[in-house]
Amino acid sequence: MLINWFVVAAQIVNFLILVLLLKRFLYGPIVQAMAAREERIASQLEAARQKKEDAEQEEADLRQKMRSLEDQRQEMLVQAEGEAQAHKENLFAQAREEVAAVRQKWAESVKWQKEAFLANLKQRLAQEIFAISRRVLQELGDLEVEERLLQVFLERLRQLAPEERQALQESLQEAGGELAISTAFPLTPETREKITAQVQDLFGPGLALRFSTSSELLAGIEILTSSRKIAWSLGNYLDTLEEDLSQAFEDIDKSEAA
């Protein structure tokens, strides 16, 4: 008999025990370890993939951010350019205005200077003219001329308008009969007497006459009371002429300004 049934039973039991033992000590732990390793590798790969994804995401984000920054920069650049352009134009306009203002001012100043110069010139010219005239008349003037002037003066005194003579008389009385006569040259005693006689003839006797000389008259004579003056002299003429001349200049300036 090749088969011993007890041995068969025993071997079945043995085999089943071995199955249990190997399951406990071999397959279980080994399979578990392999699964654990696989899981670990898988998790590591997953983690790596996740990291890579994150990195890619971050890269994309950064790229996006960089692009937006670049856009922003471009925008700002354009804006700044525009602002600079505006500023430049503004500055140009301002500068133009300033230049225009300066020019205006300058023109005004030039005009004013010109006017001042012209005015000065006119004044100087007139002064020169009168200075020359005065000198010429002074040099020309002598006693003879004075005599003649005196006669003209006395003639005029005699032909004085009644109301003027009246006014002169009144002011003489106010001054207490005092009368000042000034001439350009010292008068001779005969001339003085002549004048005294003439005046006393006109205004009545008892007048106190006081004779003096004044170079300003150039040639001529002046009768002064306290409030009145009767004069006939070249200086007087020149003064009148000067006044007329400056009046004429002013009239010209006014017409120019208009």
């Binding site: 090749l2 088969i3 011993n4 049934w5 007890f6 041995v7 068969v8 039973a9 025993a10 071997q11 079945i12 043995n14 085999f15 089943l16 025990i17 071995l18 199955v19 033992l21 190997l22 399951k23 000590f25 071999l26 397959y27 732990p29 080994i30 399979v31 578990q32 370890a33 392999m34 654990a36 390793r37 670990r40």
Partner: protein, 245 residues
């Protein structure tokens, strides 16, 4: 010359006995358990592993892959049974190089025991996979008339398993003995090597056949489920048509 290890009895009490087959089986069991325990005591899940762990991992991974390829299913539930069959037979045969050792698979009692285990495991796995009714209906297909033939097939393939392993392992010893008588110097060495190879091949064949038998019992269910799925899919398609109108 002894034909069976069973006749070498060390101790007997009534029907209970302790012979060389059982003793050597225990030896192999103890060796396997000890190695497994020593190695799996400190397993590493990191990238650095010990050589022994590597060896066992390669072994287990290869067995899982084989079972997966043959059964087309998850090897998890089958691995302890089929893997133990392979490892036990393989190591039992491999230890034949040790002087004084006789493989327990040399005994028809051992191979019969293993074949009986497969015989019982097939329905157990089948029932576990598809339920009692589902598995038993498999015997009545295509008709009830096929029941005796199915039963006969179960018996004969179990017997074939047992005898194939026993015959191959025993023949190795027999051939060694005969050649020792004919050509005592050189040939027995070659025959020993051949015997080792045959022992490994037999372990592989036994495990593969056990897998095939178990897979056939569980895959009938898979096929039927696929058929059901297909028929329901067809029904769905038929039912869909009026809706489209």
């Amino acid at each position: 010359m002894e034909i069976s290890l069973d006749s070498l009895v060390f101790w007997r009490w009534g029907p209970v006995l302790l012979n060389a087959t059982i003793l050597y089986t225990w030896l192999v069991m103890a060796l396997l358990t000890l190695i497994s325990w020593l190695v799996t005591r400190k397993l590493s899940t990191g990238p650095k592993i010990s050589r022994w762990q590597n060896l066992l991992e390669v072994l287990v991974a290869a067995m899982r892959e084989q079972i997966r390829q043959i059964s087309q299913e998850d090897p998890g539930p089958y691995l302890p049974f089929i893997g133990t069959l392979f490892i036990f037979i393989s190591v039992a045969n491999l230890l034949a190089v040790v002087p004084g050792y006789h493989p327990p698979t040399d005994s028809l009692s051992t191979t019969a025991a293993l074949a009986l285990c497969v015989l019982v495991a097939v329905p157990i796995y089948g029932i576990a996979q598809q339920g009692l009714g589902g598995y038993l209906s498999h015997y009545l297909k295509p008709t009830v008339l096929m029941l005796p033939f199915h039963l006969l097939s179960e018996m004969t393939r179990t017997l074939a398993l047992a005898v194939r392993l026993f015959g191959n392992v025993m023949s190795g010893a027999m051939i060694g003995a005969i050649l020792l008588a004919v050509a005592p110097l050189f040939f027995p060495l070659i025959m020993q090597l051949l015997e080792l190879l045959i022992g490994q091949v037999q372990a592989f064949i036994f495990a593969v056949l056990a897998t095939v038998y178990i897979a056939s019992a569980t895959q009938a269910h898979e096929e039927r489920r696929e058929a059901v799925l297909q028929s329901t899919g067809a029904k769905d398609r038929v039912g869909d048509q009026p809706k489209e109108d």
